[in-house]
Subunit: 236 residues, 2 copies
């Protein structure tokens, strides 16, 4: 993200400038702080449900949130996993288009939706910041679409692990030590697979000595190059 941010033309304010997510907390509006509140959500609780009227937007401060859509018969597609720093629930027009569930204990800053509207008209850079958030999310969705539509099970899981490793690196953590906050069923519903297939792909990576699994949620990447190669489909 920083790698992208500094490429932007002119002054490119970040969304966290307004809601105090970053270290250089500015809180430009005197009353912004008063209308936003902090909230803790336990694992398996929902921030909102699909179809509900959108009242707040959430800035994720801590924990991981899964956002999903359901089909009438119960089939589920997880459309994204959100991490600290991500904006959640900006689903205009008006009603939420997905449900958001905390995967572990989560801390969010809740922002009333009308405050968004107001900030957009009064604060110069705010609209751009918001649009950049939406565009990043859109780019992410598109990336996931090619994964869902055109990649094999092994490419999907390897790519999934690579993305987490890259995220780790970007926040200064060890890219090869991965702690998965989600269950196999959630990985499956994110990648468009079944639990069994996900489990088999994990086993395949483990027996090929590409990863080590000290527990089902604790992944140690042993051969990042081969993992990347599998993710890219360079796999015989």
């Amino acid at each position: 993200m920083p790698a992208i941010a500094h490429e932007l033309p002119h002054h490119a304010p970040d969304i966290t400038d307004w809601f105090g997510g970053g270290p250089d907390e500015r809180l430009r509006l005197g009353n912004t702080n008063s209308i936003t509140t902090e909230r803790t959500v336990d694992a398996h609780e929902h921030l909102y449900l699909e179809g509900q009227r959108q009242t707040h937007v959430y800035l994720l401060l801590e924990g991981v949130v899964g956002r999903y859509k359901l089909l009438p018969d119960g089939r589920r597609q997880i459309v994204s996993f959100s991490y600290p720093g991500d904006m959640i629930g900006l689903d205009c027009p008006e009603r939420h288009v997905d449900s958001a569930e905390a995967l572990d204990r989560v801390r969010v800053r809740t922002i009333p939706f009308n405050a968004i509207d107001r900030l957009m008209t009064t604060e110069p850079g705010f609209g751009q910041a918001l649009l950049r958030v939406a565009a990043a999310e859109l780019a992410d969705s598109r990336e996931q679409m090619i994964t869902l539509g055109r990649k094999s099970a092994s490419e999907k899981l390897a790519g999934f692990l690579v993305r987490i490793a890259n995220r780790n690196a970007s926040i200064g953590e060890d890219p090869d030590t991965i702690t998965l906050p989600m269950k196999r069923s959630e990985i499956a519903d994110f990648l468009g697979l079944t639990i069994e297939t996900v489990s088999r792909q994990f086993t395949r990576l483990r027996t090929a000595r590409i990863i080590h699994l000290s527990s089902s949620t604790h992944v140690q990447v042993l051969d990042a190059d081969r993992l990347q190669a599998i993710a890219d489909g360079d796999d015989a």
Copy 2:
């Protein structure tokens, strides 16, 4: 779209208010008209390519545009088909995240990217309008993700036809008379299938007397209810 628009709170200006796409063309900025230009693009030509620096945004006036991403080995995922009234290429940060190709002869209004930036700061409702466009696109992507990840081939194709029928209805045309501007290969790459599977699903709908095919691009819906049922997975 109108069904959604009138639900919106306050005054909800549409993006076409600024670029003269609608009948109540306002052109609020005297010089907006001068910096935007109209352009015609032939079938199979590209508006832009993935990875290119974003210089313009396009308002589609006529024709259909396919937007796609490629994998290194040539596999393709079409992420959306854009119709008149749609905004194309708002892919900040800075570089296009997909390629946009005209499926037939296309007319667009091109808007320099820096004009977007300027309008957002000077025009009160413009940011909201743009954000609404982005949010609608995001909702669309998410819908497509559940299609790609969790639906069967028959559900995918039936759902695809239903969506086109609904679009027809929304612009006042006959929902049951569908002219497909895209080839089988493009439908396949949109739905995450192969051409053969798409073709077989068409045949299946035809032999079940749910549709009639006067040509490969001309679909007559004979039983909209059963088509909808198949799209919803209510299919034994």
